[in-house]
Symmetry: C2
Subunit: 498 residues, 2 copies
Amino acid sequence: MSEPTVSEQPTHLPSRPRELAQIEKWWGEFDVIVVGFGVAGGAAAIEAARAGASTLILERATRGGGATAMSEGTIYFGGGTRVQKANGFDDSMENMLAHVKAAAGPTADPEKVRLYCENSLDHFAFFESLGVEFKDTYFEEKVIFPPTDDCLIFSGNEQSYPFSDEAIPMPRGHKPKKEGSAGGYIIERMIATFTELGGTIQNETRVETLIRDGHGRVVGVIATIEGEEVAIRARRGVVLTTGGFIMNRAMVERYAPDLAKCNFPIGSEGCDGSGIRMGMGVGGAAINMSEGLMTTPFFPPVGHIKGIVVSQQGQRFINEDCYHGRVTDAIMKKADGVAYLIVDDETYGQSMGGYKMVAVEETIEELEKSLDIPEGQLVHTLSAYNRFAKEGVDPVFHKAAKYVTPLDHPPYAALDLSAGKSVWAAFTLGGLDTRPTGEVLTVDGEIVPGLYAAGRASAGLTRSGSHYASGMSIGGGSFFGRMAGKSVAANPAVDESS
Amino acid sequence: MSEPTVSEQPTHLPSRPRELAQIEKWWGEFDVIVVGFGVAGGAAAIEAARAGASTLILERATRGGGATAMSEGTIYFGGGTRVQKANGFDDSMENMLAHVKAAAGPTADPEKVRLYCENSLDHFAFFESLGVEFKDTYFEEKVIFPPTDDCLIFSGNEQSYPFSDEAIPMPRGHKPKKEGSAGGYIIERMIATFTELGGTIQNETRVETLIRDGHGRVVGVIATIEGEEVAIRARRGVVLTTGGFIMNRAMVERYAPDLAKCNFPIGSEGCDGSGIRMGMGVGGAAINMSEGLMTTPFFPPVGHIKGIVVSQQGQRFINEDCYHGRVTDAIMKKADGVAYLIVDDETYGQSMGGYKMVAVEETIEELEKSLDIPEGQLVHTLSAYNRFAKEGVDPVFHKAAKYVTPLDHPPYAALDLSAGKSVWAAFTLGGLDTRPTGEVLTVDGEIVPGLYAAGRASAGLTRSGSHYASGMSIGGGSFFGRMAGKSVAANPAVDESS
């Protein structure tokens, strides 16, 4: 999670394509060129290669990985996977669809949601076909991801109000069998699989420009290899799987002002919007560009979920047991970016976020005063919370019973969850408008011929920070990457003489 | 404020231009064509004509007016207008700028804000030059607009926290001297002025298509006059002043989901996004498209501002004395669209919104129960409010002292302000990206030659429902309309033989 160096600071502007007529010679020719080797690119390339297309992956870094390799590797599967069944979770496709429809929210593409859920078991099998292993175990505690090599977790809003009312809550976060983070492991299996299929990987290769023919079709890319600019032809099409734009400050400020307030970009150096800008440069529409996943992960420890999150007015505003990204989104939008986690001596624990403890007091009255919350506000909030918590209920924001206990063991502490005051991690969710096939659409709703996108370079499965779950980026990126790979491989090849 | 008829339901898609080469004959030729005669179009046309350009206005309806003529006609002026001075308000350009900078919010274009404030006295003089009269009177009560022919009101957030801390609060809403609504009067003065200048107005003329030459320059329009499609040449350029898109259901649903929840579109039939779609069709970028002004005008009576607005959780979430649009925006975004105005016997009055009184009770406990608010929440909110109100303060949300009195005269009533349950009026604030000169920009930040936009067809002075004031649409639309008119008139004419 590094900042790009100053010399690389990209603009927010679309990247103009090169015209085919200007190309004098080709460095190489392939059926399919995939730009960017994260999970979406790997999935696209593998499906294209399996369909018999000669496929080239161009990767900017020294090795494939992208943001996927920096992640924990959780994948959102359901509908009754082997791991779900082994742990007694009787999920169905219909139940998964009911949940994801609600949980992905009103801005999601219903067709992408449907396809994703209907094909989830097949998608699980795809990962197994790469040699990615999943242990048949369930990690029960609410975590961001299992620290062990265990697999299954509740990784989203399944058990949280109001989503818990929409479908039977089932865990669907599947982490591959690997201690700690497993994203790199997924990519290594993809590299091995793609190589076995005879695919070509060209690392340390930068792509900033598409090549377009006189009919507006994308027919290749301009790449920089060892300092030299070369043209590479793509007979069937180019797939952009270059990631989002969180590392591009100019784009973040222009398109996503809330994300600009987050101090911890989640992504690799390549997440600078290069693919989105190339797509825009040939007429692709960029949509949902203001959206992103923001998170200040105030748990684990799980005790913190038993705390309450309050605004500067001393009010709660969300059930604290939601997906951490949903809580964070609410802090930004409902509490104007200022919030405190209030815990007592029993619920407090060391957190990974390194939150600043801005007040510790023996009484809530003193805590309220220390936080400069208007008199009586926090006192009311906590006493009302505690009164119902004794009965194990939260009638105001509907936090699940297992996280509802009275906070009545002094001292009381406040951890500062405010934007800019603690770790606020973020990545972007907006990108190129695509059909489920990966075909990039113009603002007119027409296809840009020869151009495909998947992963965070596109607007994918979920497009809103309030409606996200861990595993949807790798899950959605790889699923729609596969669809793009199949589509591009089936796209008629351009006659080379044209 | 009528619904478009079914046969006219437009799509959300950009309108493709006609190529110049396809044009066989011209119905007419002008230096400047202005499409749409609301206040922005009138201002553009008058400035173009004053600069000596032969100018044609094409208006869809039987007479100019647009959304302006349906409005009360408030114009946001400051910096020490004659009316401000006559009423003892010592405003300055710097003070106005300090306020508008804060009040227009982070999404505003700082250059537009600066120009608007620096030239406000000149802009007041422009309206006087049209023969628009302003009475030297101040209407003190907080109203949506004066029902009389009085002029000056506080029409925005000047006196409301946090904006009251940013600049010395000054009233800047100026309504022309006319009983009730004055929008039509402004337009009539514009029609008279433009006609005196020798300008041409062609009413009952629909424009859905621009004409573009081989260099990508906009050189005219296709218009439908008396059922016949004709081509009209614009030697210096075309100005789109066609209004926003609130009447275009497909656009509202695609771009502005919050506005889709509002049941009362503010605009004329022409506010169907035709200009935005034409601009997009020649590469213009449409920005801030999700934004709009939403309002459920729960006052007058002014007593209602002394009430409290609470969520379904029984919490307040905004100072109720803000601009009504800002309160409404908070209801949508912070309270998920569900809110009640709680009043007592002293503060209740008949409102124009026709709000449904969903509960009347002798005690707050009973009211809370009737509203299905979790036990104790509303009781706390009101008792805390009343406790401080006795001292005339609101330390929680900082409502101004003059609206802070204890609510302790039963019976208590709740008026339903929820979206879909009462009048929620809305218009759009997103549109074509323009320079202050009105030049339309592409997503690349380049100018579309020959094309200008102003008013709600463009993203103007303010671009967010939480940061708006009455008078900014007519004020900003006319100001940037004038700038567009001056710019287009100064644009070199295209050689007709080209």
